[in-house]
Symmetry: D2
Subunit: 358 residues, 4 copies
């Protein structure tokens, strides 16, 4: 299987290159960048010096068709939607890391991205790239819209609770913390090290675009479960903390009043959802420094750790989920989707267990 990465110079594309370079079932034959044509990949990913001789090439559909069976598209939001139709027509399978095909409803897309979608007819065709929720659809997809990093983190935490109808869905609070790599390779004054270091920066308290993905996916679960009259509403807020990699999402939700508050019910819900999942781990010990999810442990890996605690006084459940925004939050999930599409072992190329300490 031959694969390519379009726009491999950014952090998402670069991470895809890293993972695909060591994937046992594929050949990475084509990486592109508009600005770095004929430069080595290691010129901007210097960890690859003496390891890889990959060079950036110019992008065009013909070349992609000639060299690849599947392409990972890591262009900016808004650009992808104009490239995907040509790639699909050329018979390629497309795994899009951008947000362009994540939302099913073009009106919601327009609301959050302040732009009319240029190819809304493809939205239904695209499969939301969260393997745990859409494994069957991914198998036969030709267009994957890989889930957003914050959205993945929120959904992994909340999915079992929504699926088992355990919580109120109209007042979900998600308080998310992320490292600085989440804002990408582009720099500006706000990412200047003396400005960004040692801060806890509340950068998007309301209106974050991933809100739409979270609501879409969780509402979709309700619909599958015939809870047709309910609509998930999520209050999502994102903070930058003093890290480079990693997201921790803390969701504060309220138990359905019809339910008895019971830890066992929650454990059962999470285990049913994730026991067989290769990359989701339930972390919920009574004691220990790492008794709950911490991004320190999953940095660089495709694992997402999920945990919870019950606050009986408030009828509240605190749900914790952590993942590496560039791996399980982007490029790793993309590769996992590819594994499913291609019938590879799902853990293929994604087994790295992470470091400790780091």
């Amino acid at each position: 299987m031959e694969v390519g990465v379009i726009a491999a110079s950014g952090y998402a594309g670069g991470e895809a290159v890293r993972l695909l370079s060591y994937h046992p079932n594929v050949d990475l034959t084509y990486i592109t960048s508009r600005k770095l044509i004929s430069k080595y990949f290691h010129s901007i990913y210097p960890n690859f010096r003496k390891i890889s001789n990959l060079k950036f090439e110019e992008y065009n559909v013909e070349k992609a068709k000639e060299k690849c069976d599947i392409v990972f598209l890591a262009v900016p939001h808004g650009v992808s939607q104009d490239m995907v139709p040509g790639l699909l027509e050329a018979g390629l399978k497309v795994i899009d890391l951008s947000a362009d095909f994540r939302l099913k409803d073009k009106t919601i897309y327009q609301h959050y991205y302040k732009k009319e979608h240029s190819h809304p007819e493809l939205l239904d065709n695209a499969v939301y790239g969260l393997p745990e929720l859409h494994r069957e659809e991914i198998k036969n997809a030709n267009l994957i819209a890989v889930a957003g990093c914050h959205a993945s983190s929120a959904i992994y935490g909340l999915y079992p609770l929504v699926n088992e109808n355990l919580i109120e869905v109209s007042n979900i609070i998600v308080d998310s913390k992320t490292g600085s790599s989440g804002s990408g390779a582009g720099f500006n004054e706000s990412t200047h090290h003396p400005i960004r270091a040692n801060s806890i920066r509340p950068y998007k308290m309301t209106g974050h675009r991933h809100t739409a993905e979270i609501e879409q996916e969780l509402t979709c679960i309700l619909q599958k479960n015939k809870k047709l009259n309910q609509q998930v509403k999520v209050g999502f807020s994102a903070h930058g903390v003093n890290l480079v990699r990693g997201i921790l999402s803390t969701s504060h939700v309220f138990f359905n009043e019809t339910q008895e508050i019971d830890e066992k019910i929650l454990f059962k819900a999470y285990r049913m959802a994730y026991d067989k999942e290769p990359f989701i781990r339930l972390i919920n010990q009574k004691i220990g420094t790492f008794r709950l999810p911490d991004p320190k442990l999953i940095s660089g890996t495709n694992y997402s750790d999920v945990g919870f605690q019950i606050d009986k006084r408030m009828n509240r459940i605190v749900v914790l989920c952590t993942l590496d925004n560039l791996v399980k939050g982007t490029a790793g999930n993309a590769v996992q989707c590819m594994n499913i599409m291609c019938g590879f072992p799902e853990r293929s190329g994604l087994e790295f267990p992470g470091f400790f300490p780091l």
Copy 2:
């Protein structure tokens, strides 16, 4: 005015020494530590080398009485309650940095601190040491129970909203992030640098002791405003982030349905509460890297920055409040209380504006 700091070796006591050493209206005449008797303060606060020749002395009430008019008590929770009665009897004013006299209700104290209070008769006598809420009572107090760091941060953010009856008070969520100094000078495996660095650690998701203070103080405001049938309930969760100093509390609250959601109402509430306060700043710009509160800016200072954003979709207000856990969250507020008690200018000894960048 002569002042002393009892148990000056810990982070709270050490910070009190730092502030009092430069306070223009007082003489710091007495600092104690059980383990460091006759050692220099700078032996454990090496930033004071060549600056101060203060030495730790043994603690006893007589010495305190002889040397001080006011004592700052920085002993651990549970120890303070047995020392305060003697100090008060000796005619000293006591500013207690511990949690022992913060809660008015001995039952709630026992619930959260797993211990029967040894002097519940003094609880009514103690004034909760949050200058902005209790300025008048502080003037005449002889026992101040300085507010907890997380509690201060939560209360400063929420007080104007509760006071103006703008929000639902039964489902307040406070998601707090703190630096590592919050856990004190005692070390263990979980504070080992390779373990603690680069983490986002969800360390107390439910049952945090400061919950009780927040609820007490906010409920007290309701009662003052004759909302006698309401009881504030707070779901408080605390995370450690990759910092040494600083707390950022993000509160997620819901507008009262009887109110129209309106930014102006909020601005008015915050301005009424804080415009004349010397150390609370309303930070709420539309643009800019520091448009909302960030602990980076208040590290080492007695300022607390407060801001908010409205999420109309959810009827949610996101409230942000930041302070330095060791200053405005502990020793700085203690000094501010002393200034009020003694009739000093309230900003005395607390004017440090902080660094930028840091």
Copy 3:
């Protein structure tokens, strides 16, 4: 005394504003910035919100003359030399934070700064702004060229050894480590947080401009001591480490063979040099975490901590010196020079002892 800060928007100028705002003997009457005219200082130094209403003004000599007795010049290297003559003619005293007037020899200036000096006739007039070495000249100076941050750190460590003729001066090695604020407020890809964080970056191994200052000043000491045939040669190398503020310079020097290696001689040399200095501390304990200088302790202060260890096997002395690059390394030394020029107490406005922990 009325003072101004020209180009107060950069990190050096901003730090001068911070220090002068709290200086008990001066009024800060004039701050300028080309790009921020009529904007508040706190618009870019947000730690000054609700504290200062200072606004940036346009710069011109007349205004400076009208409003100030002394100006702090924080313009970039190369710009200062064209502004200083006018300011001096206007009768102002000038404290220049740039490198333009530090070097006495215009040829060496040209070599290191790749530019012909536009006013070499003023070089002799300027006093090198290192209070400990030039206190007497500073008293009567009208132009101070404040020492460079790395240079100050190296010189403070080495001065006593050179002054007492204890070391070989032709093969001094200075290995310096600095935080990210040293590169200034200008940002680029290399200062992007995901790129700069967690690195130890060897950014200038040879040819660093501060080499010239260090050699000039140390050679000058030899000359004062009639060691006329010797020329100090310094191999200076600078690394960026994972901090915002602070420099630690480690100097590796060799004992003069004519000397017996003896700790007492060294202690005597350092004590003679620094015992009466208000801001230089000799830190040389046998045990303890902070037995040697560490920038952690002097962040934000005007202190510089100096220490040493002897390596008898190699005939080597390891000299350690730390300071805050923006304070004792720039703006703090500038204020100390002003204090000396104006006959103020030398510690005036500079007493801040720093935080611990931080």
Copy 4:
């Protein structure tokens, strides 16, 4: 091939477990810890949760013999020397991560480790575990003494210069910077996060034990090259910086006066030494943020990046070498030695390219 790790709970042993768990040519059949018998490895290396079911076992020679062909010994310095003889007698090959068998001269061992060696007769038998210098001997060794982390970093930088007789060997200065994981899993006050974070700590300026290894190995090269009358002397100084993983060693050396200073000669020396080495990279670009070695790029990998710059004024060469103290500085080199001993491909199990950004 079956392998075991003795004392797998510390950072060096834990890293060996991580690498061996994913090694394609071996089975990790035995890990031990005195304190954690029958506990899961993932109970202290929580990144291995849901990945590995390895349990710590009790250590004894019989069990080791039964279960392993090779053991990695990660016990503390001083303990290893009493365990090795039994393991060798049992027919096992031993890869010792401790310092016990690194030094050939028992007198020097005693000088640096303050202890008489209990089995000096084995010192000659042991091969110093630096693959690039001792590949041939490693092939047939039954006892490998894996090189120290700082020592490896210094030697990799200096070896080509000593081998080609390019520098003065009696006044080599090595200024080394390391992350906090270098001090191991044991915690104390000095590793408490609020104390250790944000520091540059000069922790061992003289007398560092790795000095002896560096001198032994570099002198040994001189002897091989028939420079019999020369003895390498190294002034080594170690600093802790604000990182968890990684070492950067900056060596300051002086050109032999008989040589013309010439970059080409240096490039040739480094290329001859390292062009065919799988894990040593020469990093020496004229421009770019990462033009010289930076530990940011090699964190978690078995790569060591080496670079240099010439300072003609001083006749000085600044040599830079970086590696991950726990991988190429310990467990990775150990695995590479095993690969050589066993005839596995040398890169086996060590191909991880590292992350960027991190």
